[in-house]
């Protein structure tokens, strides 16, 4: 039996433009998720630790970051757990590659006299596979020195696997690694690295570890089981199935081979989007109370006010975010609601308020008819503001 931890897309050092002050904390969480993955590998006493690309968010990550990763890999090496890493699209193996700049294997103390005995292996264009003698396993991971693959990374794998099975080498398991997209016409077929399920089926691999998609998902092509582990910690707001790594068990019982894929949670950050009908919000404190009802320090809460808002609802989004900040990892409150048009009978058109309201409502109708919703929303805000100001209400500007 061969037991594997499969992760990918850790994106260490990623930028989080939407997280503001919390971005640095999120980067720490990404590293923490990687560390948790290593902990899981140690606890599960797996044989093989695979990182299917984009371990780093870019090739220019600082030495500090590489050293931290190396320290984690060293823990695996101490426990004789083999690590195989392939560069991805963010940390592509070009001439400026981070894997060229730093010898991760050496830093992790995972080098050995022969490739087969190495505890940490970074596959590169010149070394598209590694035969892990101790595990009777061949790991195939064709990578390219360019972001865009000149051909499918699975092109030669089928032949290699077949030749190896026919040969005398003591190889029981063939595991593949690819950082790229499975072709979905009109969606991913123009991606930088694309493979097809037919290609996967043809490889004859026992398992194909995929990276590039940040949400965990698995499938089977022919007899070949494949899976995306997803990012161990979410990298962007919409990655609801991120935060997982995969524990893979390959077994051969009386000639029948089975592949078991288990999802394990390592990431903590969750993203929730809520839409709140502005009409139901009575006041700013009420909104704060509503949002603060379920505090969660691991949650990035993206709240959006929608619908039509009452005139007297005067919200200061910054204040709300500040008030909610202690309860969440990050709160983002956006107001996509629009102020109501004027309700009830309009004042006489002879009055300024009457003329004002009629003028703006006509403009709003025109803009909304033309589909300029953003401008229309601004005009609605102007309408509300003027209406309140002309009525002598206190409005915070």
């Amino acid at each position: 039996m061969l037991r594997i931890i499969h992760t990918a897309d850790v994106h260490l050092g990623a930028r989080h433009d939407d997280l503001g002050e919390q971005a640095a904390a999120q980067r720490e969480r990404q590293f923490a998720a990687f560390k948790a993955t290593v902990d899981l590998a140690l606890a599960e006493k797996v044989d093989l630790f695979l990182v299917a690309g984009d371990l780093f968010d870019s090739n220019v990550q600082p030495r500090r970051s590489v050293e931290r990763v190396a320290a984690e890999l060293a823990r695996l090496a101490e426990s004789r757990i083999r690590t195989v890493i392939i560069p991805g699209t963010h940390d592509v193996f070009d001439r400026a590659s981070i894997y060229r700049a730093y010898d991760l294997a050496a830093m992790a103390g995972g080098t050995a006299a022969t490739a087969a005995e190495q505890l940490v292996t970074v596959l590169d264009p010149d070394h598209p596979s590694v035969h892990v003698l101790a595990l009777e396993t061949m790991v195939h991971g064709r990578v390219f020195p360019t972001k865009r693959a000149p051909h499918s990374p699975l092109q030669d794998v089928a032949a290699d696997v077949a030749a190896s099975r026919a040969g005398d080498a003591p190889i029981t398991w063939h595991v593949g690694m690819v950082h790229g997209s499975i072709s979905i016409p009109g969606k991913t077929d123009r991606d930088e690295v694309v493979i097809t399920t037919d290609e996967i089926a043809a490889t004859g691999l026992d398992y194909l570890a995929l990276g590039h998609w940040h949400s965990a998902q698995s499938g089977k092509a022919g007899t070949v089981a494949y899976a995306y582990s997803g990012a161990p910690e979410a990298v962007a707001l919409d990655q609801d199935r991120a935060g997982k790594v995969l524990l893979i068990e390959l077994d051969d019982k009386a000639g029948t081979r089975t592949t078991k894929i288990d999802e394990r949670q390592v990431g903590r950050t969750r993203f929730t989007k809520v839409e709140i009908d502005a009409a139901t919000v009575a006041s700013q404190p009420a909104l704060i109370e509503l949002l603060a009802a379920k505090p969660d320090p691991d949650l990035v809460l993206d709240a959006r006010l929608v619908g039509v808002r009452r005139d007297d609802l005067d919200l200061d989004l910054d204040e709300i975010e500040v008030a909610l900040a202690p309860a969440f990892l990050k709160v983002r409150v956006r107001d996509a609601s629009v102020p109501a048009l004027t309700e009830g009978p309009l004042p006489s058109p002879d009055t300024i308020a009457g003329a004002f309201i009629r003028d703006l409502e006509a403009r709003i109708a025109e803009l909304e008819a033309a589909g300029s919703t953003a401008e229309a929303a601004e005009q609605r805000d102007a309408l509300r503001l003027g209406r309140l100001l002309l009525a002598g209400h206190e409005v915070s500007l």
């Binding site: 971005a23 870019s58 220019v60 300024i352």
Partner: protein
């Protein structure tokens, strides 16, 4: 809306007051300081002021000397014409700063929320704000005269009135202007939010750009480093290859040297073998059987014997002449003596001056010593000549002695010797197998030549191989030949480089060049590495900059949106104001025309108000042209303004009818005009409730009700009396006393006597 009853407590100079008002025109009359303005203010506050207002003015409402916890309270009873009939209500406001309270009972509802109560009151009166009420429906006597002095003030007032009608256009504009100003302020010292955000975006962007540039540079530098590393590896490979070739070339050179040596050796041994064979042949073909030394001594003896035989034969065949003279006296002795003498004399001549100088007798100089030395030298030469003479003399003596001896021997002896010699010569020749000396000489000569040949060859052999044993020579020759073959095949094995002429020199140059290239590529690599290491950019810090920029951009865009919204609001208000102003001015014109004609007795029947400037002009019949109202008399101007106000009230309140309060605005009018104005008020009073405050009784007749207020009574008896005693009544000093009286319950509470005209 009509106010039926106005009650106040702890309000200005009153502890309490209670005034009933007529639905039509009520005249409230009293001398100065009787509290007319206080009544007007009480009405304004009751109708428009928020009960919770914290305005400083309200704090001053409390009467002087009132208890600390006293609160100014105003309550009104009112009635309102609605479509379904007459409704009544009561409103009570207690002003206590933020803790003020209100209670409005109307249509069965009781409202205590201050804002709500004001809203309902605004609905009932049509007066949205205090400002508007004060600028239209509540007229102070000084306002007309003030305004008339300044046309601009009049215009402002009118505009403010229209704006006020829409519940604070100017306030709205002011707020928007301020907000826009706050956003936009561009000064470095006091930047607005927009500017702050723009600055922050600019700075963050600059920082980010710098970071991104550094990161891009890092990528380029790493790329260069990878390239430099490859070039260095290539250079090392090329150098290793050149060095290996050079080593081969050197090896080839060594092998060639060895092969040349082997070839030379082979040649020598080959020659040596040939010479040796020749020597062997010569050794077997000596002309003489006798070895050469023996032969040579035999021939020598034969030669001696032959000489002796010929000598003896010659002696025996003839006489030999011999001289016996005494030998001459030897000549060498005197010469030797002279030489010795000269030497001695020379040495003395040399030595004497030294001695003389030494003992200090005389210094005769070097010349004498030179002469002495020459004398000694001559002596030595002469001694040598003497020695040579002595030797030749001795030789001569010996030769003469031999000759004498020979002559003394006898002839027989000579013959015996001759026979003996001939026998010996015979014997010698016999032993050699020869017949005569000539043959012997010939044989010796041939044998010497033969042996000489052998010796020459032996010498040649030695020259070729030294003392090498001759039997090993063929072996050594063959060994050399084998070595030549081996070296040749070794050269073949080294490849074409071995055959290339001057390959080593070429390769040495190439290796030097390649070493230089490697050195350069190492320098390049070191430089590239140094550049990479010198670039201290931290991707995570750059990420932080990007994130800050994103946050600032968001703020900037929010600020820009606010700016757009504010600007749009302001522009829309401006447009609305322009549009309404036109309608308002037309409306004003139509109402003013009617009222102006009434109050001016038909003198002015045409009015026009400029839409933009709000300048009012009237058509003057005597000039038959439009004239600005500023050119009219003060009284007329007051009337024009009064009708403008009334027009405004009608314009703004629509179907609502707020009570109109006039604080004697007609004080400057002559009696005729005043009567006309009063007539106007009378006609207005059929529509509006009118409260007219005055010191004069001239309006009593027109009033539906007259309320008389008493003036203050206390005087400051402690102050020194100066000048006009009448001024005492108006002196502020008496007011506290009057208030004190009011507080004691003897003041105005009892004073107003509501009266109603039948």
């Amino acid at each position: 809306m009509r106010i039926r009853k106005l009650v106040g407590r702890d309000f200005r100079r009153y502890r309490t007051f209670d005034i009933e008002l007529a639905p039509g025109l009520t005249v409230i009359r009293g001398p100065n300081e009787a509290g007319k303005t206080t009544v007007q203010r009480a009405l304004e506050l009751a109708l428009t002021k928020r009960a919770t207002s914290t305005a400083a003015e309200l704090e001053a409402l409390r009467p002087w000397g009132a208890p600390a916890d006293a609160r100014s309270i105003i309550s009104v009873d009112f009635e309102q014409d609605e479509e379904d009939g007459l409704h009544t209500g009561t409103l009570e406001k207690t002003f206590a700063g933020a803790r003020g309270t209100v209670r409005l009972d109307y249509e069965g509802q009781s409202i205590t929320d201050p804002a709500m109560a004001d809203q309902v009151m605004a609905e009932l009166t049509g007066m949205p704000t205090e400002g508007f009420f004060r600028s239209t429906a509540s007229v102070h006597h000084f306002e007309l005269s003030d305004l008339s002095r300044d046309e601009g003030a009049l215009r402002d007032r009118l505009q403010a009135s229209i704006s006020g009608a829409d519940r604070g256009t100017s306030r709205a504009r002011k707020k928007l202007d301020k907000a826009l100003h706050d956003l936009n302020t561009r000064g470095d010292r006091n930047p607005g939010r927009l500017k702050l955000a723009e600055l922050a975006v600019e700075q963050s962007k600059a920082a980010l750009d710098q970071g991104e540039l550094a990161l891009a540079q890092l990528e380029r530098d790493r790329d260069s480093l990878a390239g430099a590393r490859e070039r260095r590896a290539d250079a090392e490979t090329a150098l290793a290859e050149r060095r290996s070739l050079l080593e081969k070339a050197r090896q080839a050179e060594r092998i060639m040297v060895d092969r040349d040596a082997a070839t030379e050796r082979y040649e020598r041994y080959r020659q040596a073998v040939e010479v040796d064979i020749e020597i062997q042949q010569l050794a077997n073909t000596h002309p003489s059987a006798t070895p050469l030394p023996v032969l040579r001594s035999a021939v020598e003896r034969l030669r001696t014997l032959d000489g002796k035989i010929r000598e003896l034969r010659a002696a025996l065949s003839g006489e030999v002449r011999v001289d016996f003279e005494v030998a001459p006296e030897p000549t060498w002795q005197p010469l030797s003596r002279l030489a010795i003498a000269l030497v001695v004399v020379g040495l003395i001549i040399v030595g004497l001056p030294v001695l003389l100088k030494f003992i200090g007798v005389a210094d005769v100089g070097v010349l004498v010593q030179v002469v002495g030395a020459l004398v000694a030298l001559v002596g030595v030469v002469m001694a040598a000549v003497a020695l040579w003479l002595r030797r030749s003399y001795t030789l001569q003596t010996q030769m003469r002695d031999v000759e004498i001896d020979r002559r003394l021997r006898g002839r027989s002896e000579m013959e015996a010797e001759l026979r003996d010699a001939e026998a010996k010569a015979e014997g010698q020749l016999g032993s050699l197998g020869l017949t005569d000396l000539a043959e012997a000489e010939d044989l010796l000569s041939r044998e010497e030549q033969h042996v000489g040949q052998i010796e020459r060859l032996t010498g040649q052999l030695e020259g070729l191989v030294g003392k090498e044993p001759t039997e090993t020579l063929p072996t050594l020759r063959d060994a050399a030949a084998l070595e030549i073959a081996q070296k040749t095949s070794a050269l073949e094995a080294l490849g074409p480089i071995a055959k290339e002429p001057r390959a080593r020199e070429r390769l040495e140059v190439e290796v030097r060049d390649q070493e230089g290239a490697l050195e350069r590529s190492r320098d390049d690599e070191a430089n590239a590495r140094a550049r990479v290491e010198a670039n201290t950019v931290d991707a995570e810090q750059v990420a932080g900059q990007a994130e800050r920029l994103a946050a600032w951009r968001e703020q900037l865009s929010a600020a820009q949106r606010r700016q757009r919204v504010f600007a749009a609001t302001l522009a829309a208000i401006d447009r609305a104001e322009q549009a309404t102003m036109k309608t308002a001015t037309r409306y004003l014109e139509s109402h003013m025309v009617r009222d102006l004609a009434t109050v001016t007795g038909g003198r002015y029947r045409r009015v026009r108000v400029d839409d933009r400037t709000l300048d009012i002009e009237v058509f003057a019949p005597e000039k038959n042209d439009w004239v600005p109202v500023s050119s009219l008399s003060q009284g007329t101007l007051d009337l024009v303004y009064l009708v403008a106000r009334l027009g405004l009230v009608r314009l703004v309140t629509g179907d609502r009818r707020p009570p109109l309060v006039f604080d004697d605005p007609f004080v400057t009018l002559d009696d005729t005009r005043a009567a006309r104005a009063l007539g106007l008020l009378k006609s207005v009073a059929s529509d509006f409730q009118v409260i007219y405050l005055t010191t004069s009784a001239r309006y009593d007749e027109a009033a539906d009700a007259v309320v008389v207020l008493d003036g203050p009574t206390s005087v400051d008896s402690a102050a020194p009396l100066t000048g006009d005693p009448g001024a005492t009544g108006a002196s502020p000093a008496d007011v506290p006393a009057a208030t004190g009286a009011a507080a004691a319950g003897t003041g105005p509470t009892a004073a107003p006597r509501p009266g109603r005209r039948a």
